[in-house]
């Protein structure tokens, strides 16, 4: 019994640390994005709240919490209220299977540095990633506004087509590691990160991941200058904030997954595991921000053509080649 209680406490502490770190770094990722994007566009970025604008995320959070929570009278109330939570929740839950270090020994117990090491972790990640689409599509539909509906439809179509390329690009990784568990995949990269063997899969994964997290150049669901704000046009206050948090947590999760699948996860010389994972996540996030500062938004047909005609065939060929190499 005491064993069970100790395990439960350790689990709760791990969840608290992961959630706290995720939400805090999501807030500061927003700051980093605004600051870096500003410099990329020869602007200053936020610099009023605190030194270098470091209190800006706190000010924004306070502002959003104090705002009126408006539900349009024509909206489908229950779904409208639920949709932002779905987006934020699925993004947060995805991090549960990401290992952030080797197992450590605390008070004679071996504690793995991952919230939950399930043997089908990869499928779990994809299941949650796909569920996240419901938040976007239902949020857009329940708003009962044409802009939101168009955004929701675009979101559903885009994310479903890029989900395929995302999944297919990871099959070579699973073939090489021989496991669906992210812990095993990281352990399999002890000698060499998979980006060396799988550069094509890495490129496909990063492109599909950017499309999944609805970032420029794939931000069609929320295209500001065509659709207002797309699927979250009608949202205000903290419900909009939840969509926002979800998007930035998603960015971190995809950074973490890129690190786990291709960059060796928490493995790296000298520094401890969590720090290496953090550095890799930040690196991926910064590159995503750089891409956002450079590329224009794709047209809808270009987006679909890239997904179906380039990424999916390329990843299928990549699977065949990897299989052939593994056999030989």
């Amino acid at each position: 019994m005491s064993n069970w209680i100790a395990g439960f406490i350790v689990l709760m502490v791990k969840i608290a640390v992961v959630l706290g770190a995720l939400l805090l770094s999501a807030a500061y990722l927003v700051w980093a994005e605004r600051k870096l994007l500003g410099r990329l566009q020869v602007r200053l970025g936020p610099n009023r709240a605190g030194k270098f604008g470091l209190l800006q995320p706190i000010a924004d959070a306070l502002k959003m919490l104090c705002k009126e929570d408006i539900v349009p009278s024509a909206a489908d109330r229950v779904i409208f209220l639920l949709a932002p939570a779905v987006v934020a929740l699925t993004a947060l839950l995805m991090f549960a299977v990401v290992p952030f270090g080797p197992p450590i020994v605390l008070w004679g117990r071996e504690v793995p540095q991952v919230v939950s090491d399930i043997n089908v972790a990869l499928l779990y990640v994809f299941a949650l990633s796909t569920l996240g689409v419901y938040g976007v599509a239902l949020g857009g539909w329940a708003s009962n506004s044409k802009f939101a509906l168009l955004g929701g439809i675009r979101g559903a179509a885009q994310m479903i087509s890029y989900e395929l390329a995302l999944g297919l690009s990871l099959i070579p990784v699973v073939m090489m590691a021989g496991s669906f568990s992210l812990v095993d995949i990281v352990n399999a990269q002890a000698e060499m990160p998979y980006i060396v063997f799988q550069p094509v899969a890495f490129a496909i994964f990063v492109i599909a991941a950017m499309a999944e997290s609805k970032r420029i150049p794939f931000d069609l669901p929320e295209a500001e200058n065509e659709l207002g704000a797309g699927f979250h046009t009608e949202y205000s206050g903290m419900r909009f904030g939840l969509f926002f948090i979800g998007e930035y947590v998603h960015m971190q999760v995809l950074g973490a997954l890129t690190a786990v699948f291709f960059l060796g996860g928490w493995r790296g010389p000298l520094l401890p595991g969590p720090i290496w994972l953090f550095i890799k996540i930040i690196l991926v996030a910064l590159i995503m921000i750089w891409i956002r500062g450079t590329l224009p938004r794709l047209r809808y047909d270009q987006l679909m053509a890239l997904g179906w005609k380039v990424l999916i065939p390329a990843s299928l060929v990549n699977i065949l080649l990897t299989g052939a190499f593994l056999l030989v």
Partner: protein, 178 residues
């Protein structure tokens, strides 16, 4: 294949351009600390100017009030004993003014003018209603030489009809000689 290389080169150029921008000094002007000097003719807070001799220029002709697209100018005209018209009261509601400058264009006496002073925000909206004493200034604004009654062709203490600057003598309507 050449298209592919062109495409990659184009994208690479874009990325290198934004990367180089990282190391450039931002061009942002930080407003409350640094205030850019606005052009003399930029349009913000409205003033009523005076003649070079210190008299009020406004002759209360109502043209500015008539042309104002948001009807934010109102006044009451009056006449001095020497026949010189003036505004008994003159009121501009800056809560409504859109700073279009049509009043300045319509004004025949260069009395009403727009200035570059745009920092005119108030918490209390009623304090945005400016009366004549708030609007009237002690200088000639952008048209320092102009004095309407020197050109108007009406009799003033300085001279009769046709005796002012650039005026011809009145036509003798009793004669048909040229």
């Amino acid at each position: 294949m050449a298209d592919l290389f062109d495409g990659i080169k184009a994208i690479g150029t874009g990325f290198s351009t934004t990367f180089r921008h990282l190391f450039r000094r931002p061009i942002t002007e930080e407003y409350p600390e640094y205030k850019r000097v606005l052009p003399e003719r930029s349009r913000a807070r409205i003033i009523l100017t005076r003649n070079p001799d210190g008299g009020e220029r406004c002759v209360a002709c109502y043209l500015c009030s008539a042309v104002c697209p948001v009807s934010c100018i109102s006044m009451q005209s009056a006449e001095r004993p020497d026949g010189h018209r003036y505004a008994r009261w003159f009121r501009i509601n800056f809560g409504r003014c859109i700073y279009c400058g049509l009043c300045e264009e319509a004004c025949p006496t260069s009395a009403i003018q727009l200035t570059p002073d745009f920092e005119n925000c108030r918490q209390d909206i009623l304090s945005l209603v400016f009366e004549k004493e708030d609007l009237l200034v002690d200088h000639c604004g952008k048209d320092p030489e102009y004095n309407f009654y020197r050109h108007a062709g009406v009799a003033t203490p300085d001279g009769g009809k046709g005796e002012h600057i650039g005026e011809d003598a009145p036509v003798n309507i009793k004669s048909n000689l040229p």
